[in-house]
């Protein structure tokens, strides 16, 4: 638009031709703007139509979804509530209680972060509550289970109200609550010897999606402090410190996780004294944390590098000491800048937790695979099982990356 002089009379508005507006105009601009775009549109449309036709046909008519129903809750908690893991099968409420706490935490986050987090919190609570109405017989899914699932809706409300109307709603307290919920979840799942109703369940039987989520959350949370330390070390001008940090980071980033996991099975029991737990979960936790810390360090280093040097200089000019500058000025900004990256790392760590099958842990993928291969009558439904698992993973990872993108917009990363 040419900046017009004030004297020029404004011409009467000329409406664009009909072919440029509305549905036709949109189609012309976005589908048939040139001959090759038209060709591509036709080919792509044909692909979509064919894909949908055969896909829906298969989903509705040919696929045997019964296998998903048969595996059912095992996808979520693995062998946790079997006779061997929990004699009497009355441990089901423990993962459920953990879920309730998580929903309440999401409710609190809703207040703190708002927007997309609220929608995700509602979706999680609604999905859990909907599970209460699954058409299982009452013997397979008792009233107690259904009620606990339904309780997720009030739990969300409680969390929301707590954060909204009490001082717990400060981000600091939400963080503290989050850490407590995680620790409580672990204690609840593990059990306490001698306490009625909390009989210990060996980590061997922890499985399914719970295991994937637990490992990913623990990996990210524990790797954050380690990653910060490594990032600072790598940026420091102290040669020995820098060398050590670079070595750690590059070794853990250069070797595949599956190799590290398998090595851990041989090395972790040797490297830790007998007092430490000797189980695959512990080995997996250690390796996933170290692996994640190496990536975390690089992300945080990126965040630190993106800061304008003026920030640190201003802090120094105000008389802050070196460590004060780092802790109070640089790190908070750096971490805020890399939150989307950390979410991305969490997503890829979550996907990577499926590799724990190599050390005999039964995560969600392994549950599906062992079920198919151990129950030959369901071999025909292999595709269904893997598509279901893929969709569950996809729902989680896509949800998280969507939330992170919205969060990025809200935080205004890169715009300040």
């Amino acid at each position: 638009m040419v900046a017009g002089q004030g004297t020029t009379p404004t011409p009467a508005p000329v409406l664009p031709p009909r072919s440029e507006v509305g549905a036709v105009g949109w189609a012309r601009a976005n589908l048939f703007s040139s001959w090759y775009n038209s060709l591509l549109t036709v080919i792509a449309s044909a692909a979509v139509v064919l894909g949908l036709w055969f896909g829906l046909n298969w989903v509705v008519l040919d696929a045997e979804w019964g296998v998903i129903e048969t595996i059912g809750g095992r996808f979520i908690i693995g062998g946790y509530n079997t006779d061997q893991a929990c004699p009497g099968n009355d441990c089901f409420w423990r993962p459920q209680a953990a879920l309730l706490m998580t929903t309440a935490l999401l409710g609190m986050l809703w207040v703190v972060a708002g927007g997309v987090v609220g929608r995700i919190a509602m979706a999680v609570a609604a999905a859990a509550a909907l599970c209460a109405f699954l058409p299982y017989s009452m013997e397979r899914m008792g009233l107690d289970v259904r009620l606990l699932l339904l309780a997720n809706l009030p739990a969300l409300g409680v969390g929301w109200a707590l954060a909204r109307y009490t001082p717990v709603g400060k981000p600091r307290w939400v963080l503290v609550t989050g850490v407590s919920v995680f620790l409580l979840t672990v204690v609840l799942l593990r059990g306490i010897p001698g306490v009625w109703g909390l009989q210990p369940v060996p980590t061997l039987y922890w499985g399914g999606l719970t295991l994937n989520l637990l490992l990913a959350v623990a990996g990210i949370a524990l790797s954050l402090p380690l990653g910060i330390a490594l990032a600072l070390g790598r940026r420091s001008d102290l040669p020995i410190v820098k060398l050590l940090c670079v070595a750690f980071i590059e070794i853990f980033r250069g070797v595949p996780l599956i190799t590290l996991l398998f090595a851990s099975q041989h090395l972790v029991p040797l490297a830790f004294p007998e007092a430490f737990p000797r189980n695959s979960l512990f080995s997996a936790g250690v390796v996933i944390t170290l692996f994640s810390a190496a990536y975390m360090a690089e992300n945080i280093r990126g965040g630190l590098q993106s800061l304008h040097p003026g920030q640190a200089e201003a802090a120094r000019a105000l008389g802050l000491a070196g460590w004060q500058t780092t802790l109070l000025i640089s790190l908070p900004q750096a971490i805020r800048n890399v939150i989307p990256t950390i979410v991305g790392q969490f997503i890829s760590l979550f996907k990577d937790t499926s590799l724990v099958y190599i050390i005999g842990m039964v995560d969600m993928v392994e549950i599906g695979r062992t079920f198919i291969l151990g129950n030959p009558e369901y071999r025909i439904s292999t595709k269904e099982v893997f598509i279901f698992i893929a969709l569950v993973f996809w729902a989680f990872t896509y949800g998280m990356s969507y939330a992170s993108r919205r969060l990025e917009q809200r935080l205004g990363v890169g715009t300040r």
């Binding site: 490297a271 004294p273 695979r369």
Partner: protein, 401 residues
């Protein structure tokens, strides 16, 4: 009461605030902590090794491995040593990594460009592809493809195209070059490599001259001609000295009671599944990188180029892409590194990659030593990728920018 003024003599910085001393103390303390941790870990390991009588050492490397390796690209017998078997396995990983990187880049660039296509529906379709395949764990995808490839017909009922190409659930077999004898084949391959080197040299010299004098001398054509001519000459020389062609085309053919396919060049099911999985997974990431790279190029660049009369394809090729490359290359290198590391999932679909063979080896050899070796191998691969990335970055650096 009069207060005595404090003497204003300068006593120097107190020891505990002296920057140099703090630096060294911090360094020494952190080094000590790190060393203590490492020593503690390794002392525990050594102690446990001695206590539990776990074998260690590298003596096993010269022993016979005595175990089959499903896929191998260099000749392998079960009587070969552990060291050689590790080499075979490392080559398996390298082959998958190279093939995967090439294919994933091609597919990824295609999808990334299509994602920005003027056709809304194509762009959406690609968005679905990207968002689906990069958000589902690679292991799930590999297992899915594993079961899909198994649904192909078995070898005796497999598809045969042109009487030469066999497709079945054991893999794809096609005609391929085979050395008629090790000596002649390797002699010719060495000479061919020299010929290619000569061709490159000619190309560079002519390019340099063209840049200096501005006279067209067709460097690419000349280079290729030189390389082909020298290669052909080498072929004739080697052929006449040995008395047979260095390489012959071998066609796959069924043999024996079970109708297995022998001869030619075979991509076995394990490699096929791993490649499909890795390429589709990685291409989704590559596509996103390419899209971001292209979008990072200012709109004005494209508009200027269109104003100069360049077509859409030419704009992409000569204006957008070269500039986008600077943004694309660093994340791309890290994707290549990821692909290399992800190839360690080969074991899940029946491909004998480095990790897979190493895991098998721990049955009959000291685990600690084997992990050390394969860690070094993976580190070497990742260093190679970083090196390539660094070199390329230097190559495309904006001169005088």
């Amino acid at each position: 009461m009069a207060t005595t003024p404090r003497a204003l003599t300068y006593r120097g910085i107190p020891v505990w605030r002296h920057a140099l001393i703090i630096r060294w103390v911090v360094q020494i303390v952190s080094a000590l902590v790190a060393v203590t941790l490492v020593v503690w870990f390794f002392a525990n390991i050594v102690g446990a090794i001695q206590e539990r009588d776990i074998p260690a050492g590298f003596g096993f490397l010269s022993r016979e491995y005595q175990t089959p390796i499903g896929e191998h690209f260099i000749p392998y017998e079960s009587s070969d040593t552990f060291l050689y078997a590790l080499l075979v396995a490392a080559i398996n990983t390298v082959v998958v990594a190279i093939l995967g990187v090439i294919l994933a880049t091609m597919l990824g660039v295609l999808i990334g460009v299509a994602r920005l296509s003027g056709s809304w529906i194509l762009s959406r379709l690609m968005l679905v592809y990207i968002e689906f395949f990069r958000n589902v764990p690679l292991l799930v995808q590999l297992l899915f493809w594993f079961f899909i490839v198994l649904t192909l017909p078995p070898v005796r009922e497999g598809y045969v195209f042109f009487d030469r190409i066999y497709v079945n659930n054991a893999g794809i077999s096609m005609p391929g070059p085979v050395g008629s004898s090790l000596a002649s084949a390797s002699a010719w391959l060495a000479l061919a490599a020299v010929s290619v080197g000569l061709g490159v040299l000619v190309h560079r010299v002519l390019t340099w001259r063209e840049d200096r004098t501005g006279r067209a001398s067709y460097p690419l054509a000349a280079g290729i001609t030189v390389a082909v001519a020298c290669g052909a000459a080498a072929w004739l020389i080697v052929g006449s000295v040995v008395g047979e062609a260095p390489l012959v085309i071998s066609s796959p053919e069924p043999y024996g009671r079970f109708g297995r396919i022998g001869g030619g060049f075979t991509i076995r099911a394990g490699l096929l599944i791993l490649l499909i999985g890795l390429v589709i997974y990685t291409s989704a990431f590559v596509a996103e990188i390419v899209r971001a790279g292209i979008q990072s190029v200012g709109r004005g660049q494209t508009e200027a180029s269109r104003a100069l009369g360049l077509s859409g394809i030419d704009t992409l090729r000569h204006v957008t892409f070269p500039q986008a490359l600077r943004v694309i290359i660093p994340p791309m290198i890290s994707q290549y590194l990821n692909l290399t590391k992800n190839s360690s999932l080969g074991g899940a679909v029946g491909y004998t990659d480095l990790t897979n063979v190493a895991i098998t080896m721990t049955q009959t050899a000291p685990a600690v030593s084997i992990f050390l070796l394969i860690m070094l191998a993976y580190l070497a691969m990742s260093l190679t990728w970083s090196l390539i990335g660094n070199l390329y970055n230097r190559h495309i650096r904006i001169v005088g920018g």
